[in-house]
Subunit: 178 residues, 2 copies
């Protein structure tokens, strides 16, 4: 069962957006990739309005069946974490308003899903995204590649849960009668 | 010049909302006070949608000329800070979409404005809010009283800035000729 997922790497200055389509165990395909930018000197309120409008436009164009957002932690990157959390909140709000399922994945879950290591660096993640989507070159900026990595991670993790559910469904008739 | 301000004490479980009307140096009046609540067990996306709908309803009813939101810091209250930041972001988004000016005040700015001390406790802030608005009893829960404190702080701080601007405007003709 193919699924179309929009990944969001939240940020105020650059909010990465990347959509892929696929299913676990089959080649994935790129749907769209890019960033929504807002000016660092603009008022916070207008920046949030711009992020919302950009994400709405992406949801209209891409029509994803699920949205995957990077889980933001308060521990790291203290200077920008509030803006990042707010951009993430707006992405979740936009998805939930449309009734789309929203999943949060941590950076290390994404890295582990894409590269096999939860501590891979950005370059390695970018290289694997490029290879998995059979692209001619690495998507730039890094936020765009990270958004694609989130979407790929979600297809695969969702798939794993789906396969488990399938396996359980198949196993039930063969199980001991009660 | 009287101004009507909606204060928002952001939170996912309880988002405090309080509106006051007034001008510096004159008695303030209460417009409305309350909270928007969301279930701790609900999905994050639906909670954010509920917060947005609640704030929209308040903006429709209260018709404020400005919105004051508590500035959230990443240092304190790590467990809930992400949800708080997201609720604050949605309040700013709703206000900015209507073209309303949004101001952020820190908890210590609010405490200092209301009680004279930036380290006053919640009870002291609540007592002063009750006195300043000539209420029969302290607004509850504390989030509602805090939202009123934010709105009062904004009327007074905005007023101070306004008086400064007026004083400067008056002073200019009398200044040295260039």
């Amino acid at each position: 069962m193919r699924v179309r997922v929009l990944g969001v790497d939240p940020g105020l200055t650059r909010c990465g957006l990347g959509a892929v389509e696929g299913r676990p165990g089959a080649p994935l395909s790129l749907v769209a990739v890019g960033v929504v930018r807002t000016g660092a000197d603009d008022e916070l309120g207008s920046r949030l309005v711009r992020i919302e409008a950009g994400i709405e436009e992406w949801l209209d164009d891409v029509r994803p069946e699920a949205v995957a957002v990077e889980r933001v932690f308060s521990q790291h990157n203290v200077r920008t974490v509030m803006g990042t959390a707010q951009a993430a909140g707006i992405a979740m709000l936009c998805a939930a308003r449309r009734g789309l399922p929203v999943a949060l994945h941590t950076p290390s879950e994404v890295k582990a899903a894409i590269t096999g290591s939860g501590r891979a660096d950005k370059k390695q993640v970018g290289a694997m995204v490029t290879r998995l989507l059979r692209l001619a070159e690495m998507p730039r900026p890094a936020d765009a590649a990270d958004a694609l990595a989130l979407a790929i991670c979600h297809v695969w993790r969702g798939g794993a849960q789906h396969r488990l559910a399938e396996a359980l469904a198949k196993a039930t008739p063969k199980g001991p009668r009660r």
